[in-house]
Amino acid sequence: MAGFNKVVGSYAEALDGLSDNMTVISGGFGLCGIAEGLIAQIQRMGTTGLTVVSNNCGVDGFGLGLLLEKKQIKKMISSYVGENALFEQQLLSGELEVELTPQGTLAERLRAGGAGIPAFFTATGVGTPVAEGKEVREFSGRQYLMERAITGDFAIVKAWKADRYGNCIYRHTAQNFNPMAATAGKITVLEVEELVEPGELEPSSIHTPGIYVNRVIVGKFEKRIERKVLSTAKV
């Protein structure tokens, strides 16, 4: 990769260096805004013992659920899981460990990780099972928990458009956890729908500046919908 040309031509190149027992941060909310091709590549590589940081763990047969099939995940750090039977099985059999983290705390732990802040205090989770073993401090008469930052060996991020510098934008609510994930990986890999010419993205509209991004690959996306609800339907 020369200069600021971060574009790679193959998924093998995109995830070169990923090995057993690493921590992988994945953007996405459910199946929305996930790096489909990079997840499939991790499955092909057969890397095991992974700690995966992601709000959710996909569904059976799609998204991060694919990595459960060959038992590649050792631990999940998530806010909501169990949309898939395989996940439940591996959790109950003890093959899979889960650290449940409130959604906003998870987002902030990643943001902090990428921003060089080792820990922060939040009122979220005070007096609940989430507080167990955590330092509690009082500020202005209210109690707060200390939560630690998260960083990963790799971050896999799904963006809409990117240029070769790694500058990118996300589309609609496919943004979700992706911008924080992008900042928190030692190696951040963007899988994008479209590669655009440098200068095409308006500098002030860029969501993630290229400084956070190490590799860019153009992917093809199935974009599966988890719950299709139409305006005529009752909730």
């Binding site: 409130p102 906003g104 943001r111 988890e226």
Partner: protein
């Protein structure tokens, strides 16, 4: 008669006010979006990163990149903005969301809420509920007054693991509207045709009842 889901949702919508930023949880709270009073402008926040959630899409509007926190397809309303999860929870945690409505398993007289975990059953996670109850200025719980075995869900102390402490202001059930303050539930309204006696018998925690409790308008 106990209220049905739509009637509870209608009563919830009476808590909305012009110019309010509101986060609605999955289930009955989400239904309340159908009953926003006419001539009132509210903005619905969805914690996956959408402020200004619109109606569900038509078949042609369906877009996999446009979902709500329940992972359902949605549209963006006029005036909407879309942002990251960190930004979304900054507005929640920072107290910028005016009203949160969510479901619960139990609420107690201290305003504690249990809504995410039943020991012995598979634990799926708390999602954004803990952040929401810790951050919103005003939190309303909707739930049935008692479980299907007739056990009260309004307790002296929650028995299940908590989602948040001392945070619930109001409860809207199929039988009543109650305020939570000063270590007690205060009966504000009763469902049409539901007697004060029935509400008293189905409320396990301390309940303050004044004379002539009005009926809900639903």
């Amino acid at each position: 008669m106990a209220l049905n889901r739509e009637q509870i949702a209608k009563r919830v919508a009476q808590e909305f006010y012009d110019g309010a930023y509101i986060n609605l949880g999955i289930g009955i709270p989400t239904l309340a979006a159908n009953y926003v009073p006419k001539n009132m402008e509210v903005m619905l926040q969805s914690e996956n990163g959408l402020l200004g959630m619109g109606p569900y899409p038509t078949e042609t509007q369906v877009d996999a990149d446009m979902i709500n926190a329940g992972k359902e397809t949605v549209t963006a309303a006029t005036g909407a903005s879309i942002f990251s999860s960190a930004e979304s929870f900054a507005m929640i945690r920072g107290g910028h969301v005016d009203l949160t409505v969510l479901g619960a398993f139990e609420v107690d007289i201290h305003g504690n809420i249990a809504s995410w975990m039943i020991p012995g059953k598979l634990i799926k996670g708390m999602g954004g509920a803990m952040d929401l109850v810790a951050g919103a200025r005003n939190i309303i719980v909707t739930m049935t007054h008692a479980d299907k075995h007739g056990n009260s869900k309004l307790l002296s102390d929650c028995t299940l693991p908590l989602t948040g402490v001392n945070c619930i202001n109001k409860i809207i059930t199929d039988l009543a509207v109650l305020e939570v303050k000063e270590g007690a539930f205060h009966l504000l309204e009763r469902a049409p045709g539901v007697s004060t006696e029935e509400i008293i018998s189905k409320t396990a925690g301390k309940l303050i009842v004044t004379a002539n409790v009005p009926e809900m308008q639903v």
